[in-house]
């Protein structure tokens, strides 16, 4: 049994799974993301997924293969279970750290705090009714929801009381219309996804 | 459909009466088939294997295979009982398996035919 060989095989397989996950059309559609533009390289990714196992069977031992199989069943789930928004956020963080390495320590501490706050409530929430779903949402999602709610509140206020608007903004005998901020198309799509949760 | 079978039962006798009875009580039949039926069939299939399985190079395969495969045998029988669309056919298959395997076991236990373990 070569732990090193098994670990290397698991890493290669996970890279293939990660590629397939990142470019999967249904996964991207479910989270309101644009379809992947470019070559998915499905054949290459599938080769990366399965070839390490084949090689372990051929060159390694049965123990290596069984360990690899068990590990990718769990690790594959872990890769697929992380939402693409969180993955994108992680990539952005890594890019920011790479651009400014001296901030790595500060970012690492903040990242660990966010990760613990995000992961632990999820594991405690598994199978238990009653947890606040919004509490586990991505920080970006929370900010988007807040922005959408603010805009909806503005619309509702404007529709409900046009005389108030004219009183607030118009002079005697004059009526001035305040132009409301236009909704962006992507915000509408996000609102639909969040509302229906199904695409 | 049940009425047609019942008319045929009147004319032709017990097999069609049995089919009619099955079709009057599909849920009970399914429960019997997938519950005690699957369990008994699986146990008899396992019990009969030492008689007809070859002993293999080491002379023990016919003893080891049924012990190892017992859970899988039950799973196959159970899933068949759940998935079979034609209940009378499912019942017939289960009955045939139980009768045939049961006969093999009975003959082996009474010494009429041998399990090759001895």
């Amino acid at each position: 049994m070569s732990v090193l060989a098994s670990t290397a095989a698991i890493a290669v397989t996970l890279a293939g799974i990660g590629r397939l996950a990142a470019t999967d059309p249904k996964r991207r559609r479910s989270f309101g993301m644009q379809p992947f533009r470019g070559n998915r390289q499905v054949v290459l990714a599938l080769t990366a997924v399965f070839m390490p196992g084949v090689l372990l069977l051929a060159i390694g031992s049965g123990a290596d293969f069984i360990a690899w199989l068990g590990a990718i069943c769990v690790a594959g789930w872990a890769v697929a279970a992380v939402s693409p928004w969180r993955v994108a956020s992680a990539w952005r963080w890594m890019a920011a750290v790479a651009a400014a390495p001296h901030r790595l320590l500060v970012s690492a501490v903040a990242g660990v705090r966010r990760l613990a706050a995000a992961v632990l409530p999820r594991s405690a929430r598994a199978g238990i009714p009653g947890r606040d779903p919004v509490g586990a949402a991505d920080d970006g999602t929370v900010a988007r929801i807040a922005e959408l709610e603010r805009r909806v509140a503005q619309l509702e206020a404007a529709l409900a009381a046009p005389s108030v608007a004219s009183y607030a903004f118009g002079t005697e005998g004059e009526r001035r219309v305040t132009r409301l901020p236009a909704f962006q198309r992507s915000d509408l799509q996000d609102a639909k996804v969040l509302r229906t949760g199904d695409r | 459909m049940v009425e047609q079978v019942e008319v045929r039962a009147e004319r032709r006798g017990s097999p069609y009466r049995l089919v009619a009875a099955i079709e009057r009580h599909p849920l009970l039949t399914r429960w019997l088939l997938a519950g005690p039926g699957a369990l008994i069939a699986a146990m008899l299939i396992m019990a009969a294997m030492p008689v007809w399985l070859p002993a293999g190079v080491a002379g023990i395969d016919n003893i080891v295979y049924p012990i190892i495969l017992a859970p899988l045998i039950w799973a196959v029988v159970f899933m068949y009982a759940v998935l079979e669309e034609n209940l009378p056919r499912g019942l017939a298959v289960a009955a045939a398996v139980i009768l045939v395997k049961g006969a093999i076991v009975a003959l082996s236990v009474t010494g009429a035919i041998g399990g090759s373990g001895l």
């Binding site: 279970a81 409530p121 | 003893i63």
Partner: protein, 524 residues
């Protein structure tokens, strides 16, 4: 993936859902205790305060020879030699006799616990020793946790039959789930969709179960095999193939035929046999069984643990009179066969101990994934029926069980350590589990809000983790300094893991957000 008709889909859904609801919590008990039992040896070493890899790597011939000279010939029919997780050498000289309490054939003899370095006899006991676990089990905590998994701490054979049936249920649930899922491959990367709606709960369950499907079937199948093999299948096959003579069947499967020769001879040097065994099949050696020690027809069977790419045990056989190597014996039968290969796969596939901590970590993760699958499935069931009081109550039961079992296991550990000074942990360890479980149930019956209940149980569990290492040290357990000096790695590492788990859980308790009962959702 596989086309099924509407009627078949309805039946599969009924089987999958109702089998999960009726027996899912019991299955969860087996799976979560199994996840812990993967690390049974590590837990034994940590709780006993010392570690040993149980290898028979020190001289034993002088010790065994000296003890055998004091034994009546009757007791030399079989001699078992092994080392406990705490490092003590165990030597059990015994013969076969009918146990008057059970009416079954059993092993009666004298068991010695010996210091492997000095050879000093630390304890000597006589009787049907496999029933006297305090004589050979260094950790009542490990024994309890393993028994809880293997037979739900129920008496033989009912416990084994129940766990066997639960294994069959798990297989049926996995297969029916596979057939129900029309788009298994297409949904393989669909993470839980946001919004915490019913479809999100479905995503959570489906994703975890799809990825863990192969091992769900393997673990269920091998678990059922172990439960039923000796309790049900063996007697049935023996009845058909050997006229009911189970002893004859056992001899056919496990023993090589030996021509009887009762002449007394000087027994072969066991240390020379150990060295030869390692040369032939590699180490480590974990068990030696000697048949007819001191006779011309003696046989020495040496068990080699899984290592160097071997998935299962290897058994080498030596002549007990002159120490000649007689060959590698398969686990069943006397020559290699497919039946033996299949049988040899069962243990490593179920337990995952073939590559030390590396494979155990993977198997622990697989067990945890299966727990997640069960709980997420039950949660989905409850979410669909939240409007009904019965199912809200069931949801409460799921919460209590999900937390109550870990709390119970931690409670058993607390009771183990607390009862160590009094010397009767075998009695108190199970009671600690019962206490922890009952406390969780009591809180579940009293709590008004599911969210507050989960939060409270979370805190109790984190507190339990944090206290355990402190309690272990307080009752005189091995200190970290002594553990590091003595190379008892598990003592320190498990203490640290418990402190880390408890600490992170305690710290995260306020980061988990507010709890409120999910409002009833409109039908999807």
């Amino acid at each position: 993936m596989i086309p099924v008709s509407q009627g078949q889909m309805k039946r599969l859904t009924t089987v999958h859902g109702w089998s999960g609801v009726v027996l899912g919590l019991l299955l969860f008990t087996v799976v979560i205790t199994g996840t812990v039992a993967v690390f049974a040896h590590e837990i034994a070493r940590w709780s006993a305060g010392s570690s040993s890899n149980r290898a028979l790597d020190r001289p034993i011939d002088g010790i065994v020879r000296g003890l055998a000279e004091t034994m009546p010939r009757f007791y030399l029919e079989d001699t078992n030699i092994w080392r406990t997780d705490a490092g003590d050498l165990m030597v059990f000289f015994h013969a076969h006799a009918t146990n008057p309490e059970t009416g079954e054939p059993d092993e009666y003899g004298t068991m010695f616990r010996v210091d492997p370095d000095s050879g000093a006899v630390l304890a000597r006991d006589e009787g049907f020793m496999w029933h006297e676990q305090q004589a050979w089990e260094p950790s009542a905590l490990r024994k309890f946790l393993v028994d809880l998994h293997v037979q739900l701490y129920m008496p033989d054979p009912w416990g084994l039959i129940v766990t066997g049936l639960l294994g069959l249920l798990m297989m049926a649930a996995a297969i029916s789930g596979f057939l129900m899922h029309r788009h298994l491959i297409r949904d393989l990367f669909v993470a839980e969709r946001p919004g915490a709606r019913l479809v999100s709960a479905r995503d959570r369950h489906v994703l975890a179960s799809s990825w863990s499907l192969p091992f769900a079937i393997i673990l269920a199948f091998t678990g059922s095999f172990f439960s039923f093999a000796f309790s049900v299948s063996f007697p049935i096959v023996a009845q058909v193939a050997f006229g009911g003579d189970q002893e004859a069947m056992a001899k056919t499967l496990f023993e090589a035929p030996v021509a009887e020769d009762a002449r007394p001879v000087r027994a072969a040097d066991l240390d020379a046999i150990r060295a030869a065994a390692i040369d032939e099949a590699g180490g480590p050696l974990t068990f030696i069984g000697i048949h007819n020690y001191g006779r011309a027809d003696a046989r020495v069977h040496v068990w080699h643990a899984a290592a160097d790419g071997r998935l299962g045990f290897t058994q080498t056989v030596f002549d007990g009179a002159d120490g000649r190597f007689l060959g590698i014996k398969p686990q069943v039968g006397n020559v290699p066969s497919i039946g033996n290969d299949l049988n040899a796969l069962m243990w490593p596939l179920h337990v995952g101990d073939f590559a030390g901590l590396f494979s155990k970590a993977i198997w622990g993760a697989l067990g945890a994934t299966t727990c997640f699958v069960i709980l997420s499935g039950l949660r989905m069931w409850v979410r669909r029926r939240e409007a009904e009081r019965l199912w809200r109550g069931f949801g409460r039961a799921v919460t209590v069980t999900a937390y109550g079992l870990p709390i119970g296991m931690v409670g058993s550990a607390h009771a183990f350590f607390l009862s160590l000074p009094a010397g009767d942990p075998i009695f108190w360890t199970p009671l600690g589990f019962v206490g922890g479980a009952l406390a969780s149930i009591a809180l579940g019956l009293r709590a008004g809000d599911d969210g507050r209940l989960a939060q409270l149980l979370w805190r109790i569990l984190s507190f339990g983790f944090l206290l355990l290492p402190l309690l272990r040290l307080a009752v005189g357990g091995t200190s970290w300094a002594d553990a590091i000096a003595g190379g008892h790695g598990e003592v320190v590492s498990i203490d640290l893991l418990l402190l880390l788990a408890g600490g992170v859980m305690w710290w995260a308790r306020n980061s988990s957000g507010s709890y409120r009962t999910a409002a009833a959702e409109p039908a999807e």
